[in-house]
C-alpha cells in the first residue's frame, strides 16, 4: 500500500500508528506535554469503532488498560512522568499476569512536578521495571516523528508476542515537533494474533483466570523463573540501535531519543572541525544493546561520551557494558534545558580532555 507523507506532530503520529496497529482502546488522563495524544484519540477512535475513555486518574487509567488487555484487546495509555509514577502498581500487576499493552511516556523534568521541558529523567524507572517486583518492560525510544510512528506500530506486536508491556519513551520534543511521516497500512482486526489466555466468558471451554498472586513459594519461584526466561529471550531478540559515523570514530557519543537527535547534529558539526566522533544510539533502552556497544569497544574504540537529558542514568548501563577499562565520560543536562548542536559540538572537543570517571 502506498501511503502519503503527512506532516504531523509526534503525539498524533503515535496515535494514528497505534490505530493502524489494531489498537481500538485508549484510556488516559491529561498531562503536558502529551495532551494532544488523548485529544487525538478522542476524536479518531470513534471513527474506527474504537473506544476512548478519559479516566479519573492515571491510576484508574492503567487499571482500565489492564482490564481491556485481559479481555484480549490491543490497548494503549499515554502520560508523562508524574502520571507514569501513578501507574507503577498497575504495570507491576500486568507484568505478573503477563498482560500486553503499550504505554507512552512523554517524559518531563523532575522530581515532583518538575517542568515540562524535554527530559530523559525517567530512564531508570523505565528500564528497571519501575514498579515493585522482579520485572521488565520493553522500552523503545524514538528520536523522530517517523520513528515514533514506526516503533508504536511495532510495539503492539512485541507486546502481544511476549505478553509484555512495551513503553514508548519520548519527551516534549518528540511529542510536539512536526515532521513528515509515512504510516504503515491499517491492520485488519481479524488479522491480529489470536490469544488463548484471555478472559472473555467461558463459552465452549473451561473457565480461566488471570492472577498475579501466587501463594505457594515454589510456584512463585517457578513463575518468576518463567518471566526471567522470557526476558532473556527478549534480550536476545529485541535489542535495537543505530550507528552514525562509527567506522573511524575516536570518540563515541552514546545518546538516545531527543539527546541523540541533537548529538547527531553535533557529530556532523564536530566532524567538520576534524573531531573524529560518531554516534551510538540505543533505540531499545531495555533490552539495552549491550552486545553491539561492547563490540565497538572490542574493536578498539575506547572513549565514550554519554549524553543525556538527566543527571547521568544511562551512563550506568554503559559502564556495566564496557567495564573499567574504557574511558567513559558523562555529559548530563538534568534541568530541561536542551543544548544546541553547536554547544554540544564544543562540549565534545572539551570532553576529550576531561578526566576519566571514577
Amino acid at each position: 500500500m502506498n501511503e502519503e507523507l503527512e506532516l504531523m506532530r509526534g503525539t498524533y503520529a503515535i496515535g494514528e500508528a497505534a490505530i493502524r496497529a489494531g489498537c481500538r482502546y485508549y484510556f488516559g488522563y491529561p498531562i503536558t506535554p502529551q495532551n494532544e495524544l488523548p485529544e487525538y484519540m478522542s476524536r479518531r477512535l470513534p471513527e474506527v469503532d474504537g473506544i476512548f475513555v478519559q479516566s479519573e486518574s492515571e491510576l484508574a487509567g492503567i487499571n482500565m488498560v489492564m482490564g481491556a488487555s485481559m479481555a484480549g484487546a490491543r490497548v494503549m495509555i499515554s502520560s508523562s512522568s508524574p502520571g507514569i509514577s501513578l501507574m507503577q502498581e498497575g504495570l507491576s500487576f500486568m507484568a505478573g499476569m503477563e498482560l500486553p499493552a503499550v504505554v507512552v511516556n512523554m517524559m518531563r523534568g523532575g522530581p515532583g512536578l518538575g517542568n515540562i521541558a524535554p527530559s530523559q529523567s525517567d530512564y531508570f524507572q523505565a528500564t528497571r521495571g519501575g514498579g515493585h517486583g522482579d520485572y521488565r518492560t520493553i522500552v523503545l525510544a524514538p528520536s523522530s516523528v517517523q520513528e515514533a510512528a514506526d516503533l508504536t506500530y511495532e510495539a503492539f506486536d512485541l507486546a502481544d508476542r511476549y505478553r509484555m508491556v512495551v513503553m514508548i519513551l519520548g519527551d516534549g520534543m518528540v511529542a510536539q515537533m512536526m515532521e513528515p511521516v509515512r504510516f504503515r497500512p491499517m491492520r485488519p482486526l481479524d488479522d491480529l494474533p489470536s490469544k488463548d489466555w484471555t478472559i472473555t466468558g467461558a463459552r465452549g471451554r473451561p473457565s480461566r483466570f488471570l492472577r498475579s498472586l501466587i501463594l505457594d513459594v515454589n510456584d512463585m519461584e517457578e513463575h518468576n523463573w518463567k518471566l526471567v526466561r522470557k526476558y532473556q529471550q527478549v534480550e536476545k531478540e529485541c535489542p535495537r540501535w543505530e550507528g552514525f559515523l562509527l567506522e573511524d570514530a575516536e570518540m563515541v557519543v552514546v545518546a538516545f531519543g531527543t539527546a541523540a537527535r541533537i548529538a547527531k547534529g553535533a557529530v556532523k558539526r564536530a566532524r567538520k572541525e576534524g573531531v573524529k566522533v560518531g554516534l551510538f544510539r540505543p533505540i531499545s533502552l531495555w533490552p539495552f544493546p549491550f552486545q553491539d556497544l561492547k563490540a565497538l569497544y572490542q574493536r578498539g574504540q575506547d572513549t565514550f561520551v554519554v549524553f543525556e537529558l538527566n543527571a547521568g542514568q544511562m551512563v550506568e548501563d554503559v559502564r556495566l557494558t564496557l567495564g573499567d577499562g574504557a574511558r567513559i565520560l558523562s555529559y548530563a543536562r538534568p534541568g530541561g534545558a536542551v543544548p544546541s548542536p553547536q554547544e554540544l559540538a564544543r562540549v565534545f572537543s572539551r570532553l576529550a580532555l576531561s578526566r576519566r570517571l571514577p
Partner: protein, 251 residues
C-alpha cells in the same frame, strides 16, 4: 427420589477456605446461583479483590481477572468496554471499595459503566487481620482502633452505597444483609436485580452486603450473625436506594 438441591454450575466443586461462619462463603454461592439462573455462566467475567476473597477465582467457575487492591471498578471498566455484552462484576470488600478504591468506584458509577459491584461490608479489614475499615462502626474495637472507633479521632463509618446512589450514572444501589436465612434469600433477589440492571444496559449497579466476620470480630458465628442484625443494621439501613428500572440513562 426427588432432587431438592444441587450445587450451582457457577462454582467449582471445591471447599472454601473461609473461616467458619464467614459471610463470603454464603455470598459466593448467592452470586453464583444468580449467574446460573440468569444463564450467564459462559458470559460472566468476575473481578476479585485484594481481601479475604482474593482467591475467589478458585471458587467461581466463570472467567475471572484479578484487580489490584481497590481497582476493581477500573479493571471491570476495561473488560466491559471491550466486551459490552458480558456480565462483568467486581467482588470487593469494604476496605477495597470504600477506602483505597473510592475514586475508581465513584467514577465508574459516574460514567454509568455497565458493571456490578458486589460489596461485602464486614466492618473490618478481614484479610490483613481485623484493622479498622472505613465502615467500622462507632465504638468498634479493631486492631488499629484499640480504644474503639471515636469519630473525633478516626472519623465516621461511611455509608458508601447511599453515596453511590446519589450519582447519576448509578442505575441500581441497594444494601442487603446475611443476618438470617430470610435475609439471605432477599440478598439473592437483590443481586439478581443488580445484574439485570447491568444486562439491560441501565448503568452502574452496586449491592452492599452486610456480612459477618466472626474471626476478626472475635465472636462465635451465632454471635456474629446477631451483631450484623443488631449493631450493623443500625448504622447501615437495608433497602434499595436507587432503582432506575425502565429509565435508560443513555437518553
Amino acid at each position: 427420589m426427588k432432587k431438592v438441591f444441587s450445587r450451582t454450575r457457577a462454582l467449582k466443586p471445591v471447599a472454601f477456605h473461609y473461616c467458619p461462619g464467614c459471610g463470603h462463603s454464603i455470598l459466593h454461592r448467592l452470586v453464583a446461583e444468580v449467574i446460573e439462573e440468569m444463564d450467564l455462566v459462559d458470559r460472566a467475567i468476575g473481578v476479585p479483590p485484594a481481601g479475604c476473597a482474593v482467591l475467589a477465582y478458585f471458587y467461581f467457575d466463570v472467567d475471572m481477572g484479578e484487580a489490584p487492591h481497590g481497582r476493581g471498578a477500573a479493571v471491570a471498566t476495561g473488560i466491559k468496554r471491550v466486551l459490552p455484552d458480558r456480565l462483568v462484576f467486581t467482588y470487593q470488600g469494604d476496605g477495597d471499595i470504600a477506602a483505597i478504591g473510592t475514586a475508581e468506584t465513584i467514577h465508574a458509577a459516574n460514567r454509568g459503566e455497565k458493571i456490578t459491584a458486589i460489596f461485602v461490608n464486614n466492618a473490618v479489614y478481614g484479610m490483613t487481620g481485623g484493622q479498622m475499615a472505613p465502615t467500622s462502626v462507632v465504638g468498634q474495637v479493631t486492631t488499629t482502633s484499640p480504644k474503639g472507633r471515636d469519630p473525633s479521632r478516626e472519623g465516621f463509618p461511611i455509608n458508601f452505597t447511599e453515596l453511590l446512589a446519589q450519582i447519576k450514572g448509578t442505575a441500581f444501589a441497594a444494601r442487603a444483609s446475611l443476618q438470617d436465612p430470610a435475609h439471605v434469600l432477599k440478598t439473592k433477589k437483590i443481586i439478581r436485580k443488580a445484574f439485570e440492571a447491568q444486562m439491560k444496559g441501565l448503568g452502574f449497579s452496586v449491592v452492599e452486603v452486610l456480612s459477618p466476620c466472626p474471626t476478626n470480630w472475635k465472636m462465635s458465628p451465632p454471635q456474629a450473625f446477631r451483631w450484623v442484625k443488631e449493631e450493623m443494621v443500625k448504622h447501615y439501613p437495608l433497602g434499595v436506594f436507587k432503582d432506575a428500572e425502565g429509565e435508560s440513562l443513555a437518553d
